[in-house]
Amino acid sequence: MPKVPILMPQLGESIAEATIMRLNIALGDTVVPDQEVIEVETNKATMGVTALCVGEVVEILVAEGVSYAVGSVLGVLEVTQEELDRTGEKAIDEVSAGVNGAPAEDVPKSGDDPEANLHFKTEDGGYHEPKRVEPSVQGLPVPTGKGGAHYISPRMRARMTELGLRAADISAITGSGAGGRVTVEDLESFLEHIQSWPRTKASPMRLAVADAMRRSWTRPLATVARPLVMDRILDHRRGQTPKPGPALYLLRALAIALAENPTTAGYLIGENVVHPRAFDIGVAVQVDDGVLVPIIRNADTKTLNELVADYNELVELARARKLPSDATQHGIATVTNFGTFGLTWGTPIPLPNETLILGLSAGVKKPVWSEQTGTFIPVTEAEIDLTFDHRVVDGGGAGMLLNRISELLQSPEQL
């Protein structure tokens, strides 16, 4: 037979429990509707708890003088099915479905948190999934690029500004935020992690180079290289006064090659490739704790001889840190002779406002087989490396540029 609970009622809005004063029933008693079966007391009033149907008392779960919480099962009645139908009472296993007993199959299941269900119906009459903790941004996706620049929230931006940090400085941090973004908490724990490490103050020159390189690195840069036989250049150079530096030969050859095909040095802005207006090419000069890049103007229209005096003067000024500020502005490409450090290859990075940088490595003696003499002959060979913005130039275009430069440099007297 169905069993019906006798429940501790809610006796007043702020009452959480009540004390059993007297049990008016005993096991085996038959109760009738509206009979007061148990007397309870709260700090406000004394009340009789009622039964609502005819039934036999089969369990009493409470003792007199003891307090029980609202909703507690105080006892159990055994009731006929007919009596349940007549009164609308619920058997004990149905009661847990809620005060008013929505049919159990209508109650959506959502784990342990009843709050999680309090959401709205969908258009088609179904239910939304129970809500989980989600980022507060709704409707629009957080623009984080897992492979690219991090999204920096206004709060993150403020903290970074306070600390003097740039976006690139947080690249070492694994983000735990939406879409992998670095949160302020991630930043703080990273800073704590590196707090005890040794450090030195970066010079203004270092910071300026860092800034330029960081900005440049936002682009997809690629580097290609090819060998360059240096002997003719070296021969030609020996006959010159003053002697042009090897980088100047490259600079002049680059200017000629770009003047023949200016789009290679173009700059991508939005949907346009902006072409160079003048072939002003810089030369990288290593100074204490940094690099300066004086610009040689109109390198496509002046001969090597005409350029050498300007070039030497600018290099000297750079080394003396006395370059006028306009001498480093508005170049379209840069030449760097890292070979002076004995390096045999490199991937130089163009300035952020330039698409190209051409590098020259150290020349080395190599045996080259001569069909003419049938012997190995010694030649001086260097590597020229071209780093380019792959949005503007492809590997083929970069290769052709290097080949043309190499070709031009085999006739240094015509430069």
Binding site: Q10, E13, K44, T50, L52, D85, G98, V99, D106, N117
Partner: protein, 343 residues
Amino acid sequence: MGNITDASQVNANDFDRDHVRKVFRSMQTARILENKLASLYRAGKIVGGVYLGKGQEAVSASLASCLTRGKDIFAPLIRDQAGRTAFGEEILDCTRTYLGSVAGPMRGRDGNIHRGRPAEGMPAMISHLGAAISLVSGMLLAKRIKGELDGVVGATCIGDGCTSTGAFHEGLNTAAVEKLPLVLTIANNQYAYSTPNERQFVCQDLVDKAIGYGVPGYSVDGTDMLACIKVMKDAADRARAGGGAQLIVASMLRLTGHGEHDDGSYVDSNLRNSGLGRDSIEVGKSQLVEYGFATTEEIESWATEATEVVQEAVATAQKESAPDPYQDDWAAFSNPANIDFHN
């Protein structure tokens, strides 16, 4: 201006037999229903409060029995189960609202006595006392504007405590100014929750207020069913005939706590033992038999019938679904374009 009627004398020949029987049956059904509500509450079946009208059945039922549903307006307060039944409210509306059935008129959005069917002339009360006085007046005003006011009455009930509110003053004065057919009934049951009358007002008799508002006032023993029937009919007839707002003060004792969470232990035992403490249903029963409106057997059979109706309404409501937060449309506006939050 403001003549005061004291209905202490009644003559049985003045009464319509069917009307008297209807009033009593509403009182009796309300009592049986309210006893069941109390029982449900004490069995933990009702969430929220239970507020009963025990002791005030005669006042409430005799007022609403003068009204015609579909034409007149009745705005009950918390102790007006008898009036609701007399006005024609289904017992199911009551059990469904108390038990939180989604099939009830309030669909689980409001509970217990905060129920109504405003489109059928019975507003759903808010908890703020006196708010219905101007509300009913406005409903009457609309009928006037539409040319439908002829022969119509609007009635509402308040308690002694409500006479202290600004809404009472503003509402009654405004209805008087507009000469609207409002029958305002004060059930002076001696307590507002636990506050006795001497802490509520110091005028000698609440009915004296009628003079101040320039409306007819009536004083009646609220435990005397026939006296109540007479006074209510007089007042309603006068309003219907263009006599403007009417103020009735019916005195009795609340025979229950403020709500079922309250045992009313603060009620003065002298009042319980005075005439005010009489149970209007017991008085009504004797009047029915004494004046030949009904026999004891009839009264018993009505009780049996009412008990069955109540039990069935409770059973039906208990078997129905509770409101489902997934199915509620959560719309506070009738025009979907006004809904601001779509979360």
